[in-house]
């Protein structure tokens, strides 16, 4: 059974159709690239899956369950986590606190115990630090644990965002342009990191990315959308040789040049 399934999902903002009748399904452990020109509606699809926007039409299923009308918090609880195109960290918190914050579900104490700082709270908080450190080790940020999140260089902030998403223990991870602003060398390291966490946490991943080398390296299957519509859903070889994709990316004239 598919882990994630979109059935005819449509999103309209007033008169503009941002996403039109998109359907696709993802199997467990798959990693799929979602590409398309700027403004094609890629991030909107992420926002629809995670419940930031409500769909205008269609249904979204996760693990057989209808999540179309759930609120964002419930969707996270189902096991979907994401990163953001424009990095959204808790800037004034330290790197490790960024992770420890999202581990709050594992902190099993109540308000009274918290206010009086019972020994149980101290113990649990200490365990949370250790757990948070584990995630930092995975993305190799442990030496920056006590730095303020906004003091990190761009590339490391992206890694921290991935670590924070992993700390939510997702089954489906949505990565929104993780390689944006990275140089080729950093992109390669990111590819390794994504492979590593996919294996380690048994993840299913959708990757939005404009760096084609990253997409081609990671994703055997690619979905291309243009103006909110599905253009092609196929293997990377199919996508690479499809004239419609070239046209969407490079414009009408390209076909003439080629022909």
């Amino acid at each position: 059974m598919a882990l994630l399934e979109l059935k005819g999902v449509t999103k309209r903002f007033g008169g503009i159709v941002a996403v039109k009748d998109i359907s696709f399904a993802l199997e467990q452990n798959e990693i799929v690239g979602l590409i398309g020109p700027n403004g094609a509606g890629k991030t909107t699809i992420f926002n629809l899956i995670t419940g930031v926007y409500k769909v205008t039409g269609g249904k979204i299923f996760f693990d057989g369950k209808d999540i179309t009308d759930l609120d964002p918090v419930s969707i996270v609880k189902c096991g979907i986590a994401r990163t953001f195109q424009n990095i959204r960290l808790f800037n004034k918190l330290s790197v490790i606190e960024n992770i420890r914050t999202v581990l709050f579900r594992e902190a099993d104490y109540n308000m009274v115990e918290a206010l009086f700082r019972s020994p149980k709270v101290t113990k649990i908080e200490k365990q949370l630090v250790e757990k948070a450190m584990e995630y930092l080790k995975v993305v190799e940020l442990e030496e920056y644990a006590n730095y303020r999140a906004d003091s990190l260089p761009y590339g490391l902030q992206r890694k921290l965002e991935i670590a924070r998403a992993l700390a939510l223990k997702p089954r489906l991870l949505l990565l929104d342009e993780p390689a944006a602003g990275m140089n080729p060398e950093e992109s390669l390291m990111l590819v390794d990191l994504i492979r590593k966490v996919k294996e380690r946490y048994n993840l299913t991943i959708i990757l939005i990315e404009h760096h084609m080398d990253v997409v081609m390296e990671l994703c055997p299957r690619i979905i291309v959308i243009n103006f909110g519509e599905m253009l092609i859903d196929g293997t990377k070889e199919e996508v690479q040789s499809d004239p419609r994709v070239l046209k969407a990316y490079l414009g009408e004239e390209y076909t003439y040049v080629k022909g």
Binding site: T50, R88, F90, T101, M111, A114, V121, E125, R148
Partner: protein, 293 residues
């Protein structure tokens, strides 16, 4: 001497209200311009109980806190659920503050604008000190727990918080209830310190003073607002000799803070001896860039 002890008592009481508000404004990032209303509700509830019904002081204080907390839920539910942002929420609290004052002026049990004279004097300096230390300690614990971290996360980035499974409404509501309960406690203590309360004491001037203390003391800091509210109360008292210039100096302090410490006296940091070590040369090791809140 009596006079100095009196000023210290007022500082202690206001610290309780300020620390509570700092959780809501400094750590959760929502502005309130009606926080005096929570002090008023706590003050009237506690005073009426000891005055008319001879309820023991501690129970009366507790009742004042609970009443403030309950009322905060009534105002919080519609406004926070609707996710009123920043300015809009501040306007809603401004209206709420005025509404509470007008209601107190028109109820018979509060004796209207005349107020309640002759409340017993239970709030002595030791009582104030015990309560303010307790509240500061508990607030510190609150901020260092998952509840406090969630509040900071919501302040830093509401969208990212929601995508991390944090329920914005719940977090904001908890902060509001906590700060209202602190306000209620401060109000109850205040009534039994002054032995007299009337609605005119709880105007927007008091609300503004509390919010100004949190902002001037520093958002995301607990010690900053404590320092600021102490200054706000102590400076005008010290300057009583230069009567005419009191408010000028008061204003000057605010302006200087805005110019030289735009994020407040302690913005996003806590006062600690680490900082003193950093100031004293040669012992600076290990502090650079660490531990922001």
């Amino acid at each position: 001497m009596q006079y100095i002890l009196g000023v210290l008592s007022v500082i202690g009481i206001e610290i309780i209200a300020t620390v509570g508000l700092s959780v809501f404004t400094g750590f959760t990032g929502l502005f309130s311009l009606g926080h005096a209303a929570f002090m008023a509700i706590g003050a009237y509830t506690a005073a009426i109980l000891t005055y008319f019904y001879n309820v023991p002081f501690l129970f009366a204080l507790l009742a004042g806190m609970l009443m403030s907390a309950a009322v905060s839920m009534i105002i919080g539910f519609p406004t926070l659920r609707a996710k009123l942002r920043g300015d809009y929420f501040a306007i809603a609290t401004l209206g709420f503050g005025e509404a509470v004052r007008v209601i107190l002026e028109n109820l018979s049990i509060t004796q209207g604008a005349r107020g309640l004279p002759g409340i017993s004097h239970y709030t002595t300096l030791p009582v104030v000190m015990v309560f303010s230390l307790l509240v500061v300690w508990m607030t510190r614990n609150f901020i260092w727990s998952k509840y406090g971290r969630n509040a900071i996360a919501v302040r830093e980035d509401a969208v990212a918080s929601e995508m991390a499974g944090i329920d914005l409404f719940k977090v904001r509501m908890i902060s509001l209830i906590y700060s209202a309960a602190c306000g209620g406690l401060a109000g109850g203590l205040f009534a039994h310190y002054l032995n007299y309360i009337q609605p005119a004491m709880f105007t927007s001037v008091l609300s503004t003073q509390l919010t100004a203390a949190v902002v001037a003391g520093g958002m995301g800091s607990l010690t900053g607002p404590i320092i600021a509210i102490s200054l706000f109360i102590a400076v005008p008292e010290v300057l009583r000799v230069a009567n005419m210039w009191r408010l000028v100096v008061y204003g000057l302090i605010l302006v200087l803070i805005m110019i030289y410490r735009p994020s407040g006296i302690m913005g996003y940091h806590e006062f600690s001896f680490e900082i003193l070590k950093k100031i004293i040369p040669g012992r600076a090791a290990g502090y650079a860039g660490k531990r922001g809140i």
